[in-house]
């Protein structure tokens, strides 16, 4: 299990290549979040809570490891300024079977969205705005 919070870009392909090699692994799921270019957004800035962020991500990943008997889990989340097309974050899960790998990855994403201390600000030609939390993201936690 590995958790990283960083401003530097990460290499999704290299991370994916090195993940989930252990014995007994039959299914690997990855999720990557990408900065969308819709609505004329020029850049995104992600603020976070140093110290708490790492703790929150570790707690979420550790819970997923136990709950779905994962062989491995990986969470990488960037902060700072990013432009459209850049990778914001990724999670990866490795398990014996596909259902556990999928469910654990979705669980990690739902918790990251609403429980890890990150805040997104969008920069457009006409100004900037903090991204509002979606009710649907909060509701998504209900299924776990």
């Amino acid at each position: 299990m590995r958790v990283a919070v960083q401003s530097a870009p990460f290499d999704f392909a290299a991370e994916a290549a090195g993940f989930g090699q252990g014995p007994g692994v039959g299914a690997v799921v990855t999720f990557t979040g990408v900065v969308r270019d819709d609505g004329g957004m020029a850049a995104m800035e992600i603020e976070h809570y140093p110290g708490m962020t790492e703790k929150a991500l570790k707690a979420i990943a550790a819970e997923a490891m136990v709950r779905w008997s994962l062989s491995d889990a990986l969470v990488i989340h960037r902060h700072g300024r990013m432009e459209p097309g850049e990778h914001i974050m990724m999670v990866a899960t490795a398990a014996a079977h596909r259902q556990a790998a999928f469910e654990a990855a979705e669980f990690l994403m739902d918790y990251l969205k609403s429980r890890a201390p990150f805040w997104k600000k969008e920069f457009r030609a006409d100004g900037s705005d903090w991204v509002a939390a979606k009710d649907t993201d909060e509701e998504a936690l209900g299924r776990w």
Binding site: G33, I46, E47, H48, Y49, G51, M52, K55, A56, H77, I88, M89, M109, L112, K113, S114, R115, A116, P117, F118, W119, K120, K121, W130, V131, A132, A133, E138
Partner: protein, 81 residues
């Protein structure tokens, strides 16, 4: 204790962190003290349903006790991922 502000709470109050001496027993009492200070605090804390709070880096709610707490943080709902 250290009080931290993030995202638009930080922008509205105008600083990321400050040291506050308080006798407040709960987060809610601390919020009342801050609101009474200046308009920018009153504005930031106008609608508590739009805010989240962490005590010593653990998410909690406004009724949480502050006894022994070293760090309280206020911020809007998170938007990571």
């Amino acid at each position: 204790m250290d009080v931290l502000y993030f995202a638009w709470v930080r922008e509205r109050i105008g600083l990321p962190k400050e040291r506050i001496e308080t006798q407040a027993a709960t987060v809610a009492e601390l919020v009342e003290e801050l609101r009474a200070r200046e308009d920018r605090y009153a504005a930031a804390f106008a609608d508590l349903s739009a805010l989240r709070v962490a005590v010593d880096q653990e998410l909690t709610d406004f009724s949480a006790p502050l006894a022994g707490a070293r760090e309280v943080a206020f911020f809007p709902p998170m938007t990571g991922g």
